[in-house]
Symmetry: D2
Subunit: 226 residues, 4 copies
């Protein structure tokens, strides 16, 4: 873990715990989450993904460095080709067609989180946005790996085995590592090696906490159901 | 050819001809273009490509339709992985390292064209930007195919055989066709099937002509040399 | 009332009524709204105003027509000089300092509404954003005038007399009329005189309804308290 | 002069001199500039002003600090109400109607400069854009005051007395001072008190020099005529 991410994550441990140990997450882990709630979450997550792709694309737009462009362009491509298909297939197996997904109304908790990240991208620089995306990219990996460990696998019959395996996978760990490395690289060129001594630090840390708080809202929405 | 593109292209035939039959293009075709001018052009085109990728990424950002996101994300990915590599390799064979490319100062003609397209993307909607990108994507194909026909190949020993072959290729023709189809699709959902009857038409046609005029400036820059 | 606004407002009468006749509004009108809830609302409304100004400024950025620039620039100036001061003074009389305001955490309902409008501005054209701002600018006037009529004034001793008078005022009616006129003018140059026959209509109407729904959420937040 | 501006201005003294002591400037000062060239410049400067206002509005959009919003909103308002009128009146006295101005085609040198500044605003943060605007706001004041000193007034009969007086005025000096103070304040909260020790410095200084170079191009365009 980079010191940058470690410090962001440690800014407000209570909010972080509220996010990664949320009742929705625990219910996913022990399999007690009602199917209807999971499907409601999944439909919203499909919409979330659209706007997350739009944010990564904004990231490409916000740099002129080849290495950063290539990494973010790769993410945009992977998300729109593979991750999107994964969502569509998972929903299809659950009886939700692409037409169902396309007509799902977006919940306010989804709007607030996705548009907050996008607005940071427009208001600030690339670093401001990458920091606000970190709780999603890195938090999901942390949750996935913990649930995999707790459930011992997860076992094949577990109702949410696929979700847990996806986010516990080595592949997703690498997605997180790449985001961390990019955040570190952009931070070094925009601030320097010790961003916590910069006047920007309070604002960066606050964005990270706000984004984590909005993740809590997203789980709340999942528990509430559609 | 879609009627949309045919009408845009026919708005100002003199400017279009000044672009696709520019002295730089003719000198590329008959091989008389001095190597130094070609290399100057190539270095600027490398910088152009960076900002063109940033524009396509802005396009992804400016839509929430899956099909449009996937097409533009594919373009961003292809340009940043393959086209960019092609430029780097061609420059390498000409003795220009990536470090040379990275330190090349951007010419005003490059700035004016690329930033004009980007600004249209921010000021207007996705269609406004796609129209301003059309002279580049579709004009280069037209030029490539005409030079291939005129040079009969081009023959293997032609000094600019690779450039001509690239833009005359079936692959690049498909890139153009995809841009035309996307422009048509976005036009249908933002204006309708007969955009030339819309109050927006004059502005769209003017953007197309301005972008073509800025392509003329780009060739002028190539002829002037660095 | 322009036909454009009349049709947008009539798209989903139930959501519109849920907004303009919300329990928060009724409690404002009959004076039963607890002071704490009003102050919570007022603090959030101060934050809302910051992002609403940012949206109007984005509007200036999104046009090159002098008349539109001047109108929106006038709004940005008026909001940041006068409306902002009004909020600060009202809060001051209620015992809330500017420092209190500056440290108020932003509620999710505030984030979702303001950032939704801003994102529409970036994703679409100026018209897309003006339509999403209409429920706020025009709905507040409608609410203010109705409450003034219902309370007969409002009478001097009414606890929310100042709020009602502000939004019932001739001055605010003109703000609404100016927004309506600008929306109409931009609509005519981007779509034409009968936008309801355009393929864009469904999307414009949906944005209007979503923004109205987010206004309902804003009142809900006021009722819930801080 | 703040140390920030002094250091930016001293980055590339040759380019700075090429800008503030350009042949166009000297010809303005000694009155030898042909009227046609001045009018060509004035028409382009009118278009420049539109996009400069759009940049200041983007600046409002890119901050959530009240003091910064108010200052930039004041600039947007002043430019669109007063400066714009000044241009329209000066052009009117020279026989150019508003309709003439509205149909003047934008020169490439105008496009490259204005869109470069706007793109920096989108790609970076508020500071990146303010630095690229500085050569214009502060350089014009420096030029105006120098020409006023050199011409001793300027005397009433001087053909460009009004231009010189405008930019030599105490009022315009305050506009420059306000821009310098804002740049300093935003720099302090985004980087710190010694930005020249930051990894961002090379990029900030390069933007300042590029913007100055584009000012040189603007004068070249004026000399070339329309």
């Amino acid at each position: 873990m980079t010191e940058l991410y470690a410090r962001l994550r440690a800014t407000d441990p209570e909010t972080w715990r509220a996010y990664v140990e949320h009742a929705f997450v625990r219910a996913l882990g022990d399999g007690s989450l009602p199917r209807a709630n999971f499907l409601h979450y999944l439909r919203q997550d499909y919409i979330f993904l659209i706007h997350f792709i739009r944010a990564c694309a904004l990231g490409v737009h916000k740099t002129d460095r080849i290495a950063e462009i290539r990494q973010l362009a790769g993410t945009v491509h992977a998300l729109s080709e593979f991750e999107m298909q994964l969502h569509i297939q998972t929903c299809a197996r659950a009886g939700l067609s692409e037409a169902d997904l396309a007509t799902t109304p977006e919940e306010p908790e989804n709007l607030s989180y996705t548009r907050y990240v996008l607005d940071l991208g427009h208001r600030g620089d690339l670093l401001d946005m990458l920091v606000a995306q970190a709780p999603c990219v890195l938090g999901y990996g942390e949750i996935g790996r913990r649930l995999a460990a707790e459930t011992g696998g997860p076992p094949a019959g577990h109702p949410y085995a696929e979700w847990i395996s996806t986010y516990a996978s080595e592949e997703f760990r690498q997605v997180g590592a790449a985001h961390e490395a990019l955040m570190e690289a952009v931070c070094r060129r925009r601030i320097g090696p010790e961003p916590w001594t910069s006047p920007r630090w309070a604002e960066l840390a606050a964005s990270f906490v706000t984004a984590s708080r909005l993740e809590v809202g997203f789980w709340d929405m999942g528990l509430r159901g559609g």
